[in-house]
């Protein structure tokens, strides 16, 4: 799920960046530091949308660096148990397949792939129905449901299923 939230971060800035561009420097550094990172609590920071407020700077003893508390608005992405996601398959093997929804990696075990789909090894490993009408292989887009998540300090892992109504392949590049 995506959220638009306000987060705060203490930014350290070297004095050479001071001057009339201080604020711009601060923002660009913030973007570089924060966008694309993942915190267990909030999920992945997708993009910074605005700066709420930059607090008073505090000079660090001995170094000359100045710390600014910055409040910023950002879009975060955090998967939840029960959530339906669309993801791209990255790897298929006999245990199941791995898919990515943006930065999140999701594992779908073959227990959670419909029983009528069977694993086919070969040059391009895939799961296929007996009549061959539906095929999951690398780069296939699937709709899946998250049934479990594990949140580390810096990473999020998910287990998904496609064994349910309206889940499964939504666009198969091989069929186009």
């Amino acid at each position: 799920m995506f959220f638009h939230i306000v987060l705060e971060r203490n930014m350290q800035l070297h004095p050479r960046h001071f001057g009339r561009n201080l604020r711009e420097n601060l923002v660009s550094k913030l973007m570089k530091d924060v966008e694309g990172t993942c915190s267990g609590r909030h999920g992945f920071v997708v993009a910074i949308t605005g700066i709420e407020n930059v607090g008073k700077g505090l000079i660090r003893d001995g170094t000359g660096f100045v710390t600014f508390p910055v409040k910023y608005q950002c879009v975060v992405f955090r998967p939840f148990k029960g959530e339906i996601l669309e993801a791209v398959v990255t790897m298929v093997n006999k245990m199941g397949f791995f898919a990515e929804a943006g930065p999140v990696q999701i594992f779908v075990s073959n227990h959670l792939i419909p029983d009528d789909m069977e694993f086919q090894s070969g040059d391009i490993p895939n799961y296929t129905t007996s009549d061959g009408s539906v095929k999951i292989q690398k780069d296939t887009e699937v709709r899946l449901k998250i049934i479990g998540t594990r949140v580390d300090a810096t990473e999020i892992f998910c287990i998904g299923t496609i064994k349910d109504d309206f889940l499964g392949v939504i666009n198969d590049p091989a069929a186009v």
Binding site: N93, M95, S109, H111, E118, G148, R150, I159, D164
Partner: protein
């Protein structure tokens, strides 16, 4: 959903705390499950969770009873035992058996697991672990699939079997010329000598390896299993299989094994009865000798020869190489074809009951069939002759080994032409060959021309 209260952890905590904890958990849990019921009606997985809820609440009730007893009973220890029993029972009732996990999440119910269990198959994807039952299940289904495609498993070693690598700084002066002959990474499928500057290594692929992999891939699902580390293994896989058609995620390095200095088939997702192994080191496969086809070591670089204690010139120093058509790989490919053919086309009975290890034995026994061998001046006297590796090797190749000469003997294997048996062989016009004849026959899967393995006259070792 906060119902992940797997008991083993809590069983050690004191009864009161535990009950209170469960109460709290139950409250949040039941409200959660209500929400779930509203959102998703008939979903198997959610049902599992709800079942869990039920027995969770049962457990709590039971525990509450126990708690009352705890107050009444002056001997708290007995009730503690009772309680632990109850917990054990409820654990057994747990519906999901957690057959495997990804990053510590059960791959079926998605719960976070407290303990790491099962065998790590990190070579497929980091953080993936499989329990024994699951491995058995995957092996079974995969086996059926494979047999339908008329394929078996082949586990390949890298160093000295498919290729030879050396550190750049170990190159001798005589080998400096190689640096000018390396092949470009633009066209990997055509090259055989590569310089990997970022790893400070130079790698030479064994002649015939490209054809070998191509042909073997039609008969086998292939794995790489090396004692090298993971980055090295992946780099080598890229050289051998630039298009990624043979190995996919089946590259196992020493980081993935379960035992130190040993290779094991436990991480290979294939039935042992359908696996063949190509390796140059017999000791690495202590548990799977019956699956092993021993390879003659490929020493291209001088450093590799030194490492194994040979003082001869290496192939690179002699500016030569193994023969493309007569070398070890092409011989082994021939044997593999024969084994494959026998496994699928010649054996009677159910496909599922066939064992490639038996087939391997049978094919090997054909090589020296009909030969009767007497050894002379080969074994030290203190060693039992029939426990010597050469004796065993000869018998595995189908030869009959005798202790004394008699008219039916066909070959005398000797280190010294001057011994009584050697002279007898010369007189009786029997073949007199060096022990290397047996080794070469073993590596090349074909009776070698005897005249290429003469025995030197004196009492000295010709080597």
């Amino acid at each position: 959903m906060s119902l992940v209260t797997d008991s083993p952890v809590h069983s050690s905590s004191s009864g009161d705390d535990f009950a209170a904890y469960l109460d709290a958990e139950l409250e949040t849990g039941s409200s959660d499950s209500l929400g779930d019921e509203e959102v998703e009606a008939n979903n198997e997985l959610e049902e599992d969770v709800e079942d869990d809820d039920d027995h969770e609440s049962n457990r709590t009730k039971r525990l509450k009873v126990e708690k009352v007893q705890h107050v009444l009973d002056p001997q708290g220890s007995t009730s503690q035992v009772l309680m632990e029993k109850n917990i054990e029972v409820s654990v057994e009732q747990d519906i999901c058996t957690h057959p495997g996990s990804y990053k510590n999440l059960c791959m079926i119910c998605g719960k976070e697991l407290d303990v790491e269990s099962g065998v790590s198959v990190g070579y497929i994807q980091q953080g993936l672990r499989l329990g024994n039952d699951e491995i058995v299940r995957i092996r079974n289904t995969d086996m059926k699939n494979l047999l339908r495609h008329k394929k078996l498993y082949l586990v390949l070693d890298l160093d000295h079997t498919l290729l030879n690598s050396t550190h750049l700084m170990d190159l001798t002066l005589e080998e400096e010329y190689l640096k000018g002959q390396t092949d470009s990474f633009q066209d990997i499928p055509k090259g055989s000598l590569f310089r990997l500057d970022f790893m400070h290594m130079m790698t030479k692929l064994r002649p015939f390896v490209r054809t070998f992999l191509k042909e073997a891939s039609e008969m086998f699902d292939m794995y790489i299993y090396t004692m090298g580390d993971r980055p090295y293994a992946l780099e080598m896989a890229k050289l051998l299989d630039p298009r990624g058609e043979y190995f996919h995620a089946r590259v196992i390095s020493r980081d993935d094994g379960t035992q130190k200095h040993q290779k094991g088939l436990d991480v290979v997702l294939g039935e042992e009865s359908a696996v063949l192994i190509l390796d140059d080191t017999e000791n690495a496969w202590a548990k799977h000798r019956d699956n092993l086809i021993l390879m003659e070591r490929y020493h291209f670089f001088a450093s590799s020869c030194r490492q194994f204690g040979y003082n001869c010139k290496s192939l690179s120093q002699l500016k030569s190489d193994e023969s493309e058509t007569e070398g070890a790989l092409s011989s082994v490919l021939r044997a593999l074809r024969q084994i494959h053919h026998m496994f699928f086309d010649e054996l009677d009975g159910n496909l599922d009951n066939r064992d490639v290890r038996q087939v391997l034995k049978t094919v090997r026994k054909e090589v020296l069939k009909g030969c009767k061998i007497v050894f002379s001046h080969v074994f030290p006297t203190r060693i039992q002759a029939d426990s010597h590796p050469l004796w065993i090797m000869a018998e595995q190749l189908g030869a009959t080994c005798l202790r004394e000469v008699d008219p039916s003997v066909t070959h005398v294997v000797s280190m010294d032409a001057g011994t009584e048996k050697s002279r007898w062989a010369a007189k009786e016009k029997k073949f007199l060959v060096h022990p290397r004849w047996i080794e070469a026959t073993n590596y090349l899967w074909q009776k070698q021309p005897e005249e290429n393995f003469p025995v030197a006259g004196g009492a000295t070792d010709p080597q």
